[in-house]
């Protein structure tokens, strides 16, 4: 038997933002890449081999192919305008086959990239996605004519339902076998553009690089030590204009359309300054107050935490542990030295026991809250609402030194500030990123914390405490943003964004996304919770816990007018914000104290994981500054609030 030769074919999935690349990636590889209905979801670049069926894995010849698929970040063209483009450009230059995903409802935009890719001259295949959406909007596309004009095979698809995915896979995996008869070949190169690229062909190793140099790509020119001529920008404009004209002609010839639909109407209402703002307020109220506060943190958590974990699970565990080790509840100071056996029992199943309280926190509280938040967020994302919110918020966010797109990390921060800090990459420059990161660290609570806070606030009679908390945060958010906009040098408000159509979320994607994100979150939280609880339980039996609480007591009781036990919540909040917040649930507080502690906890320092990401995304100095500013802001504001506003709440 001849030895099996392994060959790897690099396939790059390329397209404009929000055209369905990640969904196609899921279908072909069986791996879930985070999919949303807002531009720019693919930030961490996903790579995986295409999943082959059993018979496909056994080729007749002795060559075994693997097809490595890369889900590149969405771009409107390739060059070196920003990090996403650079990443995508490099994957394209490296690829053996390009799979260009285009949206059937925005061909005049998408085909610009297609023409640019065709001019590179690599084997290419087009996936015409969203043909159901096009039909719904009465857009007719002459696919045969378009395919002929481009010289590229087009596969019509509805990626979310899987339609067209099998044909796409067959096209890709048959390509190397068929060789000359392969339907995947380079598209028609535009003669007008080619004439402008030709002078650079001898300069580079590949056609793609020659094209990019002709288009004034500084990085590639540097790579070849080539000094871009003075008229480089003019040449680029010339090439871009030719492409634009060719695309417009293609669209006139191949696309016809008529009429508008209801979903377009809804999309318009959401962009109306008045009705859009009313809707935004209503959505925020329903999502935070009604859904997360009343339903998840109230009904659902009560059911699981009280009925199951407190009444059944914890007594059961205590019962088992107490058969071996005694569990102490009082006089815990020095327990470790005086009675090690009962110290171990208390460590395992006492009030802060790692088998009792930690498990209850993780699965009775954290899990429902995080699930609830991510489900709500998934609906907002998949419906296409977030980009509209970004448009509404752009004016305001520009005044705070950012741009409309910052709404996405700011809302994601309500899930997990750590993950949100990573998405600040969506923003344009250092100034916008620093401000978004600071506001995330200062004024955005993460999901479990948000849930606990919503639960505490909705527990008090009336909506007033909730409004006070909300408005105070808005004010702090605004003041810090405006101040930073003045103080941090640099430019902001660079906002050009295409707005995806409103879509009815698919249950399947909502479920997958909520599940994946919750799992990632819980995996990270589980370890952190056990460590945090272990430290606390150990401190308790070793007699340190009381000493720490006493040390912070003046700060809590004198400055914030809160009971001393709240101090523990804040200390734990430094490790994990949600873990700290859960502690608040067990302390009896007056309405004024509840609002004060909710505010202080919201403003208080970002957790250790967030701090680490901030250091990675920016630097140590920014991270430490944000951390220290949180201390000052949280306690300074809490002190003022407890004295002057809190008294009105009783």
């Amino acid at each position: 038997m001849p030895a099996l030769v392994q060959k790897s074919i690099k396939v790059a999935l390329v397209g404009n933002p929000n055209v369905g690349k990640s969904v196609i990636f899921n279908h072909l590889t069986g791996i879930y890449a985070d999919v949303s209905n807002y531009p720019g979801t693919t930030i961490e670049i996903a790579k995986a081999p295409i999943k082959l069926n059993q018979e496909e894995k056994l080729p007749p010849e002795s060559i075994s192919y693997t097809f490595n698929l890369v889900d590149t970040p969405g771009v409107y063209g390739i060059s070196s305008f920003n990090d996403e483009e650079i990443a995508t450009r490099d994957y394209i230059l490296d690829a053996d086959i390009i799979v260009n995903v285009v949206s059937a409802i925005s061909l005049s935009r998408d085909l610009f990239l297609t023409k640019q890719l065709a001019d590179i001259g690599k084997p290419m295949i087009i996936v015409l996605n969203l043909i159901d959406e096009a039909e719904f909007r009465k857009v007719e596309i002459n696919i045969d004519e378009l395919s002929r004009a481009l010289g590229i095979k087009i596969i019509p698809a509805i990626a979310v339902t899987g339609f067209g995915m099998e044909s796409l896979k067959q096209e890709i995996i048959n390509a190397p076998e068929l060789k000359d008869q392969s339907t995947i070949h380079p598209g028609t190169i535009s003669p007008a553009v080619n004439a402008l690229i030709e002078p650079f062909l001898d300069l580079t190793f590949s056609r793609g690089e020659a094209m990019l140099i002709a288009e004034a790509d500084k990085n590639i020119a540097e790579k070849y030590n080539f000094q871009l001529p003075e008229n480089a920008l003019e040449l680029r404009e010339k090439i871009y204009k030719i492409r634009r004209k060719e695309v417009d002609e293609l669209c006139t010839a191949c696309v016809s359309r008529q009429g508008f639909s209801k979903r377009v109407f809804l999309g318009k209402v959401l962009l109306n300054p008045l009705w859009g703002s009313v809707c935004a307020t209503l959505i925020l109220y329903l999502f935070l107050y009604k859904f997360l506060g009343n339903f998840v943190a109230g009904t659902v958590v009560d059911f699981f935490e009280t009925n199951f974990f407190n009444n059944i699970y914890e007594p059961f565990v205590r019962n088992i542990v107490s058969k071996f080790f005694p569990i102490a509840h009082d006089n815990l100071d020095n327990l470790l030295a005086s009675d090690p056996k009962s110290a171990l029992g208390t460590f395992l199943a006492g009030d802060y026991g790692i088998l009792t309280l930690t498990v209850t926190y993780l699965y009775g509280l954290l899990l429902p809250l995080v699930l609830g938040f991510y489900l709500g967020l998934a609906i907002l994302e998949d419906s296409g609402y977030l980009p509209r919110l970004a448009v509404l918020a752009d004016g305001l966010l520009t005044r705070l030194g950012m741009n409309g797109r910052a709404i996405i990390p700011l809302i994601l921060g309500g899930g997990c500030v750590t993950m949100a800090v990573v998405t600040t990459r969506l923003l344009n420059n250092k100034k916008e990123k620093l401000i978004a990161m600071s506001l995330l660290g200062l004024a955005i609570p993460c999901s479990a914390q948000l849930g606990v806070i919503q639960g505490l606030l909705t527990n008090i009679e009336g909506i007033r405490p909730w409004l006070v908390w909300g408005l105070t945060l808005v004010v702090i958010f605004g003041v810090v943003g405006i101040a930073m906009n003045k103080l941090v040098p640099g430019d902001c408000g660079h906002f050009i964004s295409d707005i995806p159509p409103m879509r009815i979320p698919r249950f399947n994607n909502l479920f997958k996304k909520t599940f994946t994100r919750t799992k990632v979150f819980m995996d990270e939280a589980t370890g952190a919770f056990f460590v945090a609880a272990g430290v606390v339980a150990f401190f308790q039996v070793a007699g340190f816990l009381d000493k720490i609480i006493i040390f912070f007591e003046p700060l809590i009781t004198q400055v914030l007018l809160l009971p001393r036990e709240v101090g523990l919540s804040f200390i734990l909040g430094m490790i994990r914000r949600d873990f700290g917040a859960f502690g608040l649930l067990e302390i009896p507080l007056t309405p004024s104290q509840i609002v004060t502690s909710c505010l202080v906890l919201t403003l208080f320092v970002p957790c250790i994981a967030t701090l680490a990401v901030m250091i990675k995304e920016r630097n140590l100095k920014s991270a430490i500054s944000i951390w220290l500013a949180s201390w000052i802001l949280a306690f300074g504001f809490g002190a003022v609030f407890a004295r002057f506003v809190g008294v009105f709440l009783g």
Binding site: R109, R137, V391, T398, G404, I496, S497
Partner: protein, 79 residues
């Protein structure tokens, strides 16, 4: 009928009006060409957020341009 054109900045366009793009500043020209908007295009204003972005429609696609950029783009409108 003879048409008269009035020249103004993009951020002054009212919703549901059609207009012609005249001049786009160099630094955002390329970004807009790629999105399908270039000088000479005839477009529709879908929405305008006060002190905020202008939303344009080209074919079936909607594009928002922040208020800051919109104030730099010259357009003309039929009166």
């Amino acid at each position: 009928m003879k048409k008269t054109l009035s020249s103004l900045k993009l951020n002054k366009i009212k919703p549901s009006k059609r207009f012609l793009i005249h001049k786009i500043p160099e630094d955002i020209k390329y970004e807009l060409i790629r999105l399908g908007i270039s000088e000479g295009d005839n477009l529709l204003c879908v929405a305008k957020i006060p002190f905020g972005p202008v939303v344009l429609q080209k074919d079936l696609q909607e594009i928002a341009i922040g208020g800051k950029f919109a104030s730099l783009i010259e357009v003309s409108q039929e009166v």
